[in-house]
């Protein structure tokens, strides 16, 4: 079937098997290999992308079901391929919130939504550690033990709050 997806701001047209998964389209069809596949069961979160703003596991969604939507992959988070790191990415860098990096794109996508939401609440209440850990539950990481990732999110949210106060 012929489908259209808006991927990282660009309309992409292609024909796909009805059983094709969104992650297959992104990786194999569109060459966007930043999205990773770590499991067969929707458990690991390595494949998370943003679909119309919400973070979703792209191995659990048929391409057809995403037709017409706005998809953002890790390649699209900085706006351009060589754009600056986002506040979240920069905070994760400073906290060394990645080691082998395989879980990282999925985490950046999932946590991106969290940080956006925290900003949307006006950043009045900094998210608590349990809130961050709860949000991260869908993303597995075997290297970091998650601590540096959690610290990275705390740092990103704090930086955002400071910027808001100053701005």
């Amino acid at each position: 079937m012929d489908l259209t997806l808006n991927v990282n701001g660009l309309p992409r047209q292609f024909s796909a098997e009805p059983s094709e998964l969104l992650v297959e389209r992104l990786r194999d069809g569109l060459g966007l290999t930043g999205t990773k596949v770590g499991c067969d069961t929707g458990q690991c979160g390595s494949c998370v992308v943003r679909l119309d703003g919400s973070s979703v596991k792209s191995c659990l969604i048929l391409t057809a079901a995403a037709a017409g939507s706005e998809v953002t992959t890790i390649e699209g988070v900085s706006g351009t391929p060589d754009g600056p790191l986002t506040g979240l990415q920069e905070a994760l860098r400073q906290e060394h919130g990645t080691q082998c990096g395989f879980c990282t794109p999925g985490m950046v996508m999932a946590l991106g939504e969290f940080v956006d939401r925290s900003a949307a609440t006006g950043g009045e209440d900094a998210p608590t550690e349990p809130e961050i850990r709860e949000w991260l539950t869908g993303n597995l990481c075997r290297c970091t033990g998650y601590h540096s990732v959690v610290r990275g999110v705390q740092r990103a949210c704090a930086a955002q709050a400071t910027a808001r106060q100053e701005g």
């Binding site: 060394h96 082998c100 395989f102 950046v108 998650y146 540096s148 990732v149």
Partner: protein
């Protein structure tokens, strides 16, 4: 030990990882991301049954499926040698059919006659797309004649057990011992107090988040093969595959490790797929790519731990440990993996006495074959199993004599003045200050406040338990000769090359290969510190056998204490050459040359100087150099240390058990580890944190469970539980620093060491929390169900599960039959 002469601020500084930005942008290339032009895709058919004779394999239907290029079975690879096992326990015969090169053969690239575990590779399909390959796999039919199945080591060794290999009667691959049996038996017989436990160190699955994969690319014009693989040891894989499996010249195989998405030991092994993609690429004249699935990984990538042990500790009434003894049944799985038998014996057995000074110690291991996935390394491998048994015993002993477990430990720690210390089991500990380390952990954890915390928790319906665990982890594998005495077939040294370019930039190449440890950052720090230059000027290359000198790779936390010393020593060669050449360039005697800030100057006359960049260019031209000084700056070192190094540490787990649900929550965790001098504390911090959570995973939730038919029932991440972000709070970490005398950096292994004690610490804490119910031991993983049964047993009035003094009673182990 010479201290680096460079800027003190570079080495030991928490520099940001230079690898991180690329990873955070998703730009790094992992094996699944490699797509060479014309690539065909391979899928592997694994056995559906755990033990059977293969009567026939029908591939016709698969061959006719759309896109299929080739279907192959064992019959297609009769001239390929079996995958070898290169670490058989030292001093014992392997009893395994030999490899043509005199090595013990481990397994063929495809199984033709008898399958021995679910997932055992039987056939492969190569097709135009991965989907087509997978579809064609389903069209292959195999007729099996089922054979009886055994999945536990102790049962495999019993009379009448199913036999796995004709050449291995009774399934016993090795009976291995260390220590002094007579002395230990005598000490135990004469002891005032003895305690015993039956322990199950359950089988676990490392589960790096990236599954394994391989791409083979054969060039007919040159006869050269290139293997891209998710490997932690490209040089090792090159050696094993070229010379020992494919039978091709060493220089016809290039192995490239792209970015590797975690390994924790599992990606250092030789697997059939690595050979198959190369062979099929040659057969088809196209690159052949294979990427595993999670379920495939769980059924074919080496698994870890898996010991059933009967352990005994003897001591005096006043808390002095006099002997420790361990009898272990180790489950090697269906075949000896590349180094699995050594992990199950030497790495575990020689480590059992941990941080304690014990007069008599003995360990025996029966290493057996069963119908399960082959056994291999797992973050903290061997040493975690050893720490678990020793630390459980110490707590059991403390309870028996009514002494605080911290006090028992303190009384038995090897004193600082005893180093180097021979532990009587084969290891000589290099250096340590165990008392300082242990006391620091207790202090940081607030050990003295625990009674008050216990009382407070009771008011909330929680039982609070405190668990201590200490450890010594052998690292820095290793001294090649020493490893050969352990049965390792091959050198275990590490190498580094440094080239200084004419423009003053530096390239460091190492034989090691990162699987997420930021080698590029840390090795640059080492070279920069030694040369006195900016680390930003240092490029680090690794992971490609064509670019890097030889080396064994990253395993056993060896990169910083093996490869980094090689870098440091190489930088010192460069430095000393620059001093000699500097004398020529500055027109002064060598004794007057001062090397500082990367350049040279005349002692007392800083005006007469050359910068690093000037020297680099001058050496590149080579003008005016005397014949004894070669032009250019290009040095290599092969570092083979005099002995291993022995990091150590003390951990304190505090858990709260919910009275109603039996759920165990780790409410605080304190770790004080000593890895000697550290190159980059930010990077080591991440490794320590990840390691602790991995250890907590084994204690609380991880288990590879096989059913009686030998099916892995935890073959995906819905069945196999990995710790998630909410499973632990932030850890409280401290460190002590005891440099190792065995390398020029004073470094000890760091990456995986903190995985060694958490399982023991948590189970000790859980037993502490339940001790008033008479519980003396509880098997891992400590699931809510197991604990709930203990609690329910109490309320139902059936009493606890405490045994009589001196015997271990397992509470709600949930395993059939008794160990042994």
């Amino acid at each position: 030990m010479t201290a680096p002469t460079g800027e003190a601020s570079v080495l030991g500084a928490p520099l940001d990882s230079r690898e991180d930005p690329q990873l955070l942008r998703g730009e790094a290339t992992y094996i699944a991301d490699i797509e060479l032009p014309g690539t065909a895709h391979m899928a592997i058919l694994g056995s559906e049954v755990a033990h059977a004779r293969i009567l026939s394999i029908q591939t016709k239907a698969a061959e006719q499926m759309p896109g299929v290029l080739k279907v192959a079975t064992a019959a297609d690879f009769t001239d390929v040698m079996p995958l070898p096992c290169i670490w058989i326990p030292g001093g014992v015969e392997s009893h395994f059919p030999p490899h043509p090169y005199g090595l013990p053969g481990a397994r063929p690239v495809l199984t033709g006659d008898t399958v021995r575990h679910v997932g055992d590779a039987i056939a492969v399909v190569v097709a135009e797309t991965p989907r087509q390959a997978a579809a064609a796999l389903a069209a292959i039919t195999v007729d099996y004649e089922p054979l009886p199945v055994v999945t536990r080591a102790d049962q495999a060794l019993a009379e009448g057990a199913p036999q796995l290999h004709e050449a291995v009667p009774g399934n016993l691959n090795a009976y291995w011992t260390c220590g002094d049996k007579e002395r230990t038996d005598a000490a135990i017989a004469a002891a005032e107090v003895t305690v015993e436990l039956d322990l199950v160190n359950q089988r676990t699955i490392n589960s790096p988040i990236e599954p394994r994969g391989a791409v083979g690319d054969y060039h007919a014009a040159t006869g050269e093969y290139t293997l891209y693989a998710s490997t932690q040891g490209p040089h090792n894989h090159r050696f094993l595959l070229s010379a020992l499996v494919l039978g091709i010249p060493f220089n016809k195989l290039r192995v490239i490790a792209p970015t590797v998405g975690g390994s924790f030991g599992t990606k250092g092994y030789l697997y059939p797929d690595m050979a198959l993609v190369l062979l099929l690429s040659k057969a088809l004249g196209r690159p052949v790519k294979w990427v595993d699935t999670r379920t495939g990984l769980m059924n074919s990538t080496v698994q870890g731990r898996d010991h059933r042990q009967h352990v005994t500790l003897a001591g005096t009434r006043d808390g002095r440990i006099t002997a420790v003894r361990c009898t272990s049944h180790a489950n090697l799985g269906a075949y000896p993996s590349t180094i699995g038998p050594g992990v199950a014996t030497a790495l575990m057995g020689r480590s059992i006495s941990g941080m304690y000074q014990i007069d008599a110690a003995f360990c025996e291991v029966y290493a057996a074959f069963t119908n399960t996935v082959p056994l291999g390394a797992q973050r903290g491998s061997g040493r975690a199993e050893a720490a678990f048994l020793m630390e459980r015993l110490v707590d059991r002993y403390a309870a028996e004599i009514g002494m605080d477990p911290a006090e028992v430990r303190r009384r038995n720690l090897v004193p600082a003045e005893k180093f180097p210390y021979d532990n009587g089991l084969g290891w000589t500990y290099d250096s340590g200050n165990y008392r300082e380390n242990f006391d620091k952990a207790l202090e940081l954890a607030g050990y003295a406040d625990m009674p008050a915390r216990k009382a407070e928790a009771r008011t909330r319906g929680k039982r609070l338990g405190v668990g201590l665990a200490t450890y010594v982890a052998i690292c820095g594998v290793g001294p090649s000769t020493r490893m050969s005495q352990e049965g390792m077939l091959g050198g275990t040294w590490e190498s580094a090359n440094i080239r200084v370019h004419p423009t003053g930039e530096v390239t460091v190449t190492v034989g090691s290969a990162s699987t997420g440890q930021s080698h590029g950052t840390v090795f640059a720090q080492v070279a920069a510190a030694e040369l006195g230059i900016d680390p930003a000027n240092v490029q680090v290359l690794e992971g490609d056998t064509l670019k890097a000198p030889y080396g064994q790779g990253t395993y056993g936390s060896r990169s910083y204490s093996m490869a980094a010393p090689a870098v440091a020593l190489t930088a010192r060669k460069i430095r000393s050459k620059l001093v000699r050449a500097g004398a020529v360039f500055l027109g002064i005697p060598e004794e007057k040359v001062v090397y500082a800030g990367g350049g040279v100057h005349e002692d007392g006359n800083p005006e007469n100087a050359k910068t690093f960049a000037e020297l680099a260019m001058a050496m590149w031209y080579g003008w005016g150099l005397p014949p004894e000084i070669e032009p250019a700056l290009d040095e290599t070192t092969h570092f083979d240390p005099p002995d291993f190094n022995y990091p150590f540490g003390s951990h304190v787990a505090v858990v709260e058990i919910d009275e109603l649900t039996g759920e165990t929550e780790v409410v605080s965790y304190t770790a004080v580890d000593d890895a000697g001098n550290i190159g980059n504390p930010k990077i080591v911090l991440g490794q320590i944190e990840g390691s602790i959570l991995h250890g907590l995973g084994q204690a609380l939730m991880e288990a590879a469970e096989y059913d009686t038919d030998g099916r892995l029932i935890t073959a995906d991440l819905t069945g196999y539980a990995l710790p998630r972000a909410a499973d632990a709070p932030f850890f409280t970490l401290g460190k002590t620093v005891t440099p190792s005398p065995h390398n020029p950096l004073g470094a000890k292994g760091a990456g995986e060491i903190a995985t060694v004690p958490p399982a023991a610490a948590v189970v000790n804490a859980v037993v502490d929390a339940l001790s008033d119910l008479g519980v003396q031991h509880i098997d891992m993983p400590v699931t809510p169900e197991k604990v709930w049964r203990v609690l329910a047993g109490r309320t139902a009035g059936t009493g606890g599960t405490g045994g009589t003094a001196g015997t271990g009673a397992a509470a709600g182990t949930g395993t059939e039959g008794g160990p042994r």
